[in-house]
Symmetry: C2
């Protein structure tokens, strides 16, 4: 019943009408917002029906179980965060400047320390539950890591960072510093932990920076 | 009713008898284990009574509300993790070797990627709930950060790392890489994210290492 859409939209059931898809999207958007601000456990059908302006039978039609709703919210949040990271703003993370631009965005983003990462906080909350959504979460985080890794590999190929750098290791550092810094910032209600962690992680990437004079390394790989 | 004990034990009510304290400790230990493995929301009174072998009225006597129980579990887990980090094994993090020893412990620890950090996973799960426990969590993470920061300052004073290093920033990097790496490892059910993140974070501290020949800097501060 569910099909993967090659575009950047979350999966939607194929047989829905345009109106049906719009209703489903509205429910999903409100569910994502409620879950982001209050958590999965505190989000119930009644709140969601009221927020999205739908009836109980409509809600049940599009999302027959809480698991199906949470799964759709994961896909929705994953698409949002991956699409944002792939946006032109960050030029596919092909330079240290783009990494600093990225960190600056989240450091300045008010909801960072109020509600954390939309995907990470969701993952943390549901990873111990019975909801069968781990594969979808793991897949989303792998794609996220790959965005950084691909960028770092591009930096190596263009001679911006040394071949001594390990793109996989650095990608995990960036993503972990982001997730851990977000958690600490939420707990502290202060952006300082995230700011320090991201700056230090990018400082580390910078230790591999090559002087511009060194030019392009064609012998990479 | 609650008093801070200067020792490494979690706070216990002063007026409990030795037997009462033992019962309370047994409940707490089982609550911590249940919450660590199943999460706060999935842990209910009945499971806890059965696991700890206590009656409902006993449970209610020691922990009249879920909030009081969760608060006590936070304190218990915080004391455990802080005491572990302060143990002689890590020599107060006065060297790069002690940081590598620390990372090695968690990389080899099976429960790392099964259940995550005992404190971090608890924090993630309850940070969005109505439970009024944020101050206790924030305090625990601040103490944890200070253990790393103090160690890094000690490394600077002994001339092991350069004065160019920012101990606060590096401490946040270490703690964030740990928390974020743990989350990613749990989601992936694979230790690789944690391993890579911690190695990269410590690699970064190592970029500030001074050659032994440089000797002790007496002019620090």
């Amino acid at each position: 019943m569910w099909v993967m859409d090659a575009a950047t939209e979350a999966r939607v059931p194929q047989k829905l009408t345009a109106k049906g898809q719009a209703t489903r999207a509205r429910i999903l958007e409100h569910a994502a917002e409620l879950i982001y601000t209050k958590g999965v456990h505190a989000t119930n059908n009644e709140q969601l029906r009221r927020a999205a302006g739908v009836s109980g039978s409509q809600l049940n039609h599009y999302f027959p179980t809480k698991e199906s709703l949470v799964l759709a919210v994961i896909e929705w949040q994953a698409e949002r965060v991956l699409t944002f990271h792939r946006s032109e703003r960050f030029t596919h993370f092909d330079s240290l400047d783009s990494l600093r631009e990225w960190a600056g965005y989240y450091i300045a983003y008010e909801r960072s320390y109020q509600e954390g990462c939309s995907l990470g906080s969701l993952a943390s909350e549901i990873i111990k539950t019975d909801l069968d959504v781990r594969t979808e979460l793991a897949n989303a985080f792998e794609q996220w890591r790959d965005i950084f890794r691909d960028g770092l590999e591009r930096m190596q190929k263009s001679g911006r960072i040394s071949n001594d750098a390990d793109p996989t290791r650095l990608a995990y550092l960036l993503l972990s510093a982001f997730q851990g810094g977000m958690l600490l910032a939420q707990v502290a209600r202060d952006i300082a932990p995230l700011k320090n962690a991201l700056q230090a992680a990018i400082d580390h990437v910078q230790t591999f920076a090559m002087p511009p004079a060194a030019g392009v390394h064609e012998d990479v790989d």
